[in-house]
C-alpha cells in the first residue's frame, strides 16, 4: 500500500470543526522554554509543529486522544478540554 501523509490520513476523517472555540489552547511562551517538545512527535495527528522559533498548533484535526496532555512536561502549557458537544472528530468506524 502507498504511504499516506498525516494530511492525507486526516483528510479521510470526518470532523465538525468548532470555528468559534478552540478546545486546546497553548501558552506558547511556556512551549518556547520546553527543551524536548515531545508533543511534536507524540501527537498522532501531528498537530504540534515547531516552526521559526514558535509552536504552531491547529486544533482542527485533533483526534481527541489526550496524548499531548499526557506527554507535556510543562505545567500550564496545554489547556485541554473536549470540544463543545457535537463538535470535533466523528468516528464512522471507531
Amino acid at each position: 500500500m502507498k504511504r499516506l501523509s498525516i494530511e492525507q490520513l486526516l483528510g479521510i476523517d470526518k470532523f465538525a470543526v468548532d470555528d468559534e472555540q478552540a478546545h486546546i489552547v497553548l501558552n506558547k511562551e511556556i512551549c518556547a522554554f520546553c527543551a524536548d517538545k515531545p508533543c511534536t512527535f507524540a501527537c498522532p495527528a501531528g498537530l504540534y509543529v515547531w516552526k521559526d522559533g514558535e509552536m504552531s498548533f491547529d486544533y482542527a484535526g485533533c483526534l481527541e486522544c489526550g496524548t499531548c496532555r499526557a506527554v507535556c512536561p510543562k505545567e500550564g502549557a496545554i489547556s485541554w478540554r473536549y470540544p463543545r458537544g457535537g463538535f470535533g472528530i466523528n468516528f464512522r468506524y471507531g
Binding site: M1, L10, I12, F41, Y82, G88, I89, F91, R92, Y93
Partner: protein, 431 residues
C-alpha cells in the same frame, strides 16, 4: 432543559455507561445518559475485539441483534525482526460456537446499538452535550452542568473514558502520568470479505486477531495489532506514552512503516484506508485506579482504569460492561437505603471485588511492571526469529544441535542466561 431531577445521570454512552443506564432504566428509574459525541460511539475507538462473557450475562445472546463484526476463531502472535518473523498461530473452533468467545467490532456502530438498548429500556439519551462540571452541594455531587444547563440527580456515574475529566473534577482521580497510559493509533482498511477470510485462513464469517511484537515499535514498549472485521481490517499500534515522550519517532509515521513491513504488507495489500483514529489506553490498570466512589458519584470503565494488557490478551470492554453492571446494582441498593453518600455507595467496590473485574486485574497486577522490561520488545523478538530461522535453514554448513543454536542466539542478542531464566520465570508467574 430546565431544572429536572433524575434518579441517575450517566456521563458517557460507551459500554460502561450504556450498560449502567440500561440496567437502571430496566428497573424503572429515571436515567439520563449524556454523550458528548453527536451520536454514541462517534468519539470511541479501540483496537478491535470484545470478549463476550460480560455482555452475554446482561443481554443473553446479544450477538443475534448487535452489530458485531466477526467471531474470533484464530489467534496469532507474531514476532518481527527485520527480514524474519515468527508467528504462533492457534485456531479453536469452539470459540466460534455460541456463546461466542469474542467478537471483533467497530465502536461507532456497536456503541450506538448498546446506547439504543438503554434508550429502549427507558433511559433518556442526550447526545452532543459535553458535561462541563459537576454540581456539588455540601461536598456531595448533586448533578452536572453542561453549558447553561444544570441537571440534578441522586447519583452521577462517571463513565466518560480514559481522560475522565469528571472523576478529576470530583477529586477522585489524579491526572495520569505518561507511563500509565499508552497511545493507540489505528487505521481501518477496507478489503473484500472473501479476501479477508482467505488471507487469514478463516472459514466464512470467522475472524482472526493478530498481535505483533518487535520492530513495529522500534524497541519501545508496546506492540502492533490487526483485527479482521467483516469487510475491513483494524490495524494499528499501541505505545506507552512515556516512551513516545522520549523517542523521536512520530507515531503516525510508525503506523505507515508498520504497513510497509514485509511481514504485514501482504495482509493489507490492495486495501483502502477509510479511517485514521487515536485514543489513550489506561494501561496501568489497578496501579492507576482512582477512588471508585465519592458522595453521590461512581466511576466506571476506562475512567476507572479498568484495562488489562498482557501482551497476548488485551481487555477493556468486558471490564467496562461489568463495572457498569456493578454501578447499576449499587445505585439500586443505595436507592433502597436512600443513602447516596460515599458509604452508601460502598457496595460498588465490594461488587467489583467479588466479580472478575478485580479478580483478574489483581491477578495480573504485576504485568504492567513486567512489560517495562525492554528485552521483551528488542532482544527476545530477535532471539526467537533468529533461532527459528536457523532451525529451518539448510545451507551446507556443519550441523549444530538445538542447544548449541539456542546458546549462540542468546549470546548473539546480548542476553545472559541468567536474564533469560529470570525473565522466563517471572513471565510464567506474572502473565
Amino acid at each position: 432543559m430546565g431544572e429536572e431531577k433524575f434518579a441517575a445521570i450517566v456521563v458517557g454512552a460507551g459500554p460502561a455507561g450504556s450498560t449502567a443506564a440500561y440496567l437502571l432504566a430496566k428497573e424503572g428509574l429515571d436515567v439520563l445518559l449524556i454523550e458528548k459525541g453527536a451520536a454514541p460511539g462517534s468519539k470511541n475507538m479501540f483496537g478491535g475485539r470484545m470478549y463476550s462473557h460480560a455482555l452475554h450475562k446482561i443481554i443473553p445472546g446479544f450477538w443475534e441483534e448487535a452489530p458485531v463484526e466477526r467471531p474470533v476463531a484464530r489467534e496469532i502472535i507474531t514476532f518481527l525482526s527485520g527480514d524474519r518473523s515468527v508467528s504462533m498461530n492457534c485456531q479453536d473452533l469452539n470459540w466460534v460456537k455460541p456463546p461466542y468467545h469474542s467478537f471483533t467490532l467497530l465502536r461507532a456502530e456497536f456503541d450506538a446499538w448498546l446506547a439504543s438498548k438503554a434508550e429502549e429500556a427507558g433511559a433518556m439519551l442526550a447526545c452532543g452535550i459535553l458535561v462541563d462540571d459537576l454540581l456539588v452541594e455540601n461536598g456531595k455531587v448533586v448533578g452536572i452542568r453542561a453549558g447553561e444547563d444544570e441537571m440534578f440527580a441522586d447519583v452521577v456515574i462517571a463513565a466518560d473514558g480514559v481522560n475522565s475529566i469528571i472523576a478529576q473534577k470530583a477529586g477522585l482521580a489524579r491526572m495520569f502520568s505518561p507511563h500509565q497510559v499508552a497511545t493507540g493509533v489505528k487505521q481501518v482498511i477496507k478489503l473484500s470479505a472473501e479476501e479477508i477470510s482467505r488471507r487469514f485462513q478463516v472459514e466464512g464469517e470467522n475472524g482472526a486477531a493478530q498481535l505483533f511484537v518487535g520492530d513495529c515499535t522500534r524497541g519501545m514498549r508496546g506492540g502492533g495489532f490487526l483485527y479482521t472485521n467483516k469487510s475491513t481490517v483494524s490495524l494499528g499500534l499501541v505505545i506507552t506514552a512515556s516512551e513516545l515522550q522520549k523517542a523521536r519517532y512520530k507515531i503516525s509515521e510508525l503506523v505507515e512503516d508498520f504497513k510497509q513491513n514485509p511481514h504485514v504488507s501482504p495482509l493489507i495489500e490492495g486495501g483502502e484506508v477509510v479511517e485514521y483514529s487515536a485514543h489513550l489506553v489506561p494501561e496501568a490498570g489497578l496501579n492507576m485506579m482512582p477512588q471508585l466512589c465519592g458522595d453521590g458519584i461512581l466511576v466506571a470503565g476506562d475512567a476507572a482504569g479498568f484495562v488489562l494488557n498482557l501482551g497476548y490478551i488485551v481487555r477493556g470492554m468486558d471490564f467496562a460492561v461489568a463495572s457498569g453492571e456493578a454501578a447499576a446494582k449499587t445505585v439500586l441498593q443505595a436507592r433502597k437505603n436512600s443513602n447516596f453518600s460515599r458509604q452508601g455507595l460502598g457496595l460498588y467496590e465490594q461488587l467489583l471485588k467479588q466479580s472478575f473485574v478485580f479478580r483478574d486485574l489483581e491477578a495480573y497486577r504485576k504485568a504492567p511492571g513486567f512489560m517495562e522490561n525492554r528485552r521483551m520488545f528488542t532482544a527476545y523478538p530477535q532471539l526467537a526469529t533468529g533461532l527459528l530461522s536457523e532451525v529451518f535453514t539448510v545451507d551446507g554448513t556443519p550441523p549444530v544441535h538445538l542447544l548449541g543454536k539456542i546458546l549462540s542466539q542468546v549470546r548473539e542478542n546480548g542476553v545472559s542466561l541468567a536474564q533469560l531464566a529470570g525473565d522466563s520465570w517471572k513471565g510464567a508467574r506474572i502473565l
